[in-house]
């Protein structure tokens, strides 16, 4: 499935929510959405994604995790995301205003999304591309972003190989803008 917009994502989550009804959960499952899905909520640039990368904030059984997985909700994001710490990004996230029966969904803030791309341990070109080709950086709180970036840099061991520099991304964005003007 290719999710092309917010409506696709919400419909998919509604299907998952309905599937979860049968488990009579004692409490709702809290998730924070990162990755391409969060981009769909945070930018106006056209972007597609095929799954929903999340942090699960509630303890769940393997059985429930398998159900999430069957609805393309992927919690493996934590393995490539070292910073921002989830407790901190949770405070800056926003609640998705959809009354699910079994889910409470948050969307990571723009600044945390940018940080997650810069500090992704997989160090892939696609993370840089996501930042250069969308308006996420142009529309974020730059002071907050710089503050977080400088703070989290201190947490990273072997910095040269562990994060993409914000300066490089800004430079690439400038070059892209100049190309367009010409």
């Amino acid at each position: 499935m290719i999710f092309k917009n917010r409506e696709d994502i919400i419909e998919n989550l509604a299907m998952l929510d309905s599937e979860l009804d049968q488990f009579n959960l004692s409490r709702k499952i809290e998730i924070i959405i990162f990755g391409g899905t969060a981009f769909l909520f945070r930018t106006n640039n056209m972007r597609v994604t095929s799954d929903i990368d999340v942090f699960i904030m509630t303890e769940i059984t393997n059985e429930i995790e398998a159900v999430l997985h069957r609805f393309n909700v992927n919690s493996r994001v934590s393995s490539v995301l070292e910073v921002p710490p989830i407790e901190e990004s949770f405070k800056r996230s926003e609640l998705l205003n959809v009354p699910f029966n079994n889910l409470i969904v948050y969307i990571a803030s723009k600044e945390d999304l940018i940080i997650s791309k810069l500090f992704s341990s997989r160090q892939a070109q696609k993370d840089i591309d996501d930042l250069v080709n969308t308006d996420l950086i142009d529309t974020c709180d730059m002071d907050l972003l710089m503050e977080l970036y400088n703070e989290y840099k201190k947490d990273v061991i072997f910095p040269l190989s562990r994060y993409n520099t914000l300066e490089e991304v800004l430079e690439l964005k400038e070059m892209k803008k100049e190309k367009k003007v010409r």
């Binding site: 499935m1 290719i2 309905s18 095929s50 393997n62 398998a66 997985h69 393309n72 009354p99 969307i107």
Partner: protein, 164 residues
């Protein structure tokens, strides 16, 4: 003979491939795109399996092109790791088994030490396509109606609420 799931899978892959590439392209054009677009690449390797002529071309090119060799190798690796993943649907594993038997029976795999795991992305592609097929198959009119009512109540202009 291809199973019902395999037929549905390849139909879906073809549609996704066309959407991601922005139209219908030749083997050579898709191969070129697969070098710069990871989404096209993930769909392309499976699309190749649905067309004997495309598969023969890719398998043959893998003997002299490093990119093609990596595509075939990553695809092989993705199918093998699909069998081991505990959260995949049984249908996903069955399909991976079928594809392995049909296309990789006597092929050896080279494990490359990569910082970025292309095979994991291909595995994710396979799994999400099968999930989509199964979600559609198991969906009912009653569920769709219920979902329609639910979605109608959502205020799409006021989707995000800051936390206090």
């Amino acid at each position: 003979m291809a199973s019902e799931l395999q037929t549905a899978f390849f139909e879906h892959v073809e549609k996704e491939q066309s959407y991601l590439a922005g139209g219908d392209y030749s083997f050579e054009e898709l191969l070129q795109m697969s070098q710069r677009d990871r989404r096209v690449r993930n769909a392309f390797v499976f699309y190749v399996l649905s067309r004997p002529d495309y598969k023969n071309k890719l398998w043959s090119l893998a003997n002299r092109s490093l990119h093609c060799k990596r595509l075939v190798n990553s695809l092989h690796k993705s199918l093998l790791s699909t069998l081991k993943e505990q959260f995949h649907r049984e249908e996903t594993k069955t399909l991976a088994k079928e594809l392995l038997a049909e296309h990789f029976e006597n092929k050896s795999i080279v494990f490359e030490l990569n910082t970025y795991d292309t095979a994991a992305e291909m595995e994710k592609f396979l799994s999400t396509v099968v999930n989509t097929i199964m979600m559609k198959k198991l969906d009912t009119t009653e569920k769709r109606e219920k979902r329609k009512l639910f979605l109608e109540k959502i205020d799409f202009n006021n989707l995000l609420i800051p936390q206090k």
